[in-house]
Subunit: 124 residues, 2 copies
DNA sequence: GAAACATCCGTAGGTCTGTACGGGTGTCCA
DNA sequence: TGGACACCCGTACAGACCTACGGATGTTTC
């Protein structure tokens, strides 16, 4: 292990303050599993496309994202399992759209605002 | 490959619309590398702790997060490399805080609001 | 100057994730 | 009813990620 267990906090007050407000391990797990779904080039662009186009089928998504259908299919499977995307089957075509309870902060601020940010600022 | 290359778009209008507004691969890469940094239990709680406590050293962070110093050190290395965390050395103690240009949407909406969301809604 | 402390660095190991491939199911058109 | 199409599923492989460990650096104290 690196260093000792640091039994002497340097600023006990701040440690206690942070500790009391900190999300628990279970909440953190839920949150990170959600963020992990966004943290992929194919999935984030897929979500972005559905946010713009309302509804798209698998083949059209592959065209819009310029990736093969395998990648789209895999991405959709994960998003569907997490409940972020719902599918409406009509004939032999499966139309996908963002779920109604898609987290608003993610959609409004992270998606749209962050894209602007990462475009203007060189990220460091 | 799965299926053919789907040369016949079902809804060409929406495909073109989505394609024109879609972030390019480079922008998507920047965005996902940023989100990947948040998509980890240790790092997200670390950022949360710094957001609350303003400034903390490595050992105190390990105490607050209830993880060993190795995990904290590794997390800080990545966040520092990305420019999200800055370090102020004073004597033999290194105080860490969020960078001044830490993306505001991430801090305000994703961090605080999402924690609330993932607590109340069972995520599906 | 020597010992103790807080932190950082380089490396090896196990684990998880994303991709590619083949095959399968259900639907539409002639 | 036979063929073509859009899509889904299960499996194997390559790559990235996180963790744990030992050692090294700079600083304070006596």
């Amino acid at each position: 292990m690196t260093g000792t267990d640091h039994a002497h906090p340097i600023d006990p007050e701040r440690v206690a303050h942070a500790r009391s407000r900190l999300p628990g391990p279970d909440d953190a797990a839920r949150l990170t599993s959600l963020l992990s779904l966004m943290a992929d080039p194919v999935r984030i662009r897929l979500i972005y496309a559905l946010d713009v186009a309302e509804e798209l089928c698998v083949g059209d998504l592959a065209l819009a994202l310029e990736v093969n259908e395998d990648a789209v299919g895999y991405a959709l499977r994960l998003l569907r399992t997490a409940g972020l995307v719902v599918t409406r089957k009509q004939g032999r075509v499966a139309y996908n759209r963002l779920a109604a309870d898609f987290p608003a902060p993610l959609r409004d601020h992270c998606l749209r605002q962050l894209v602007e940010l990462t475009r203007s600022t060189p990220a460091e």
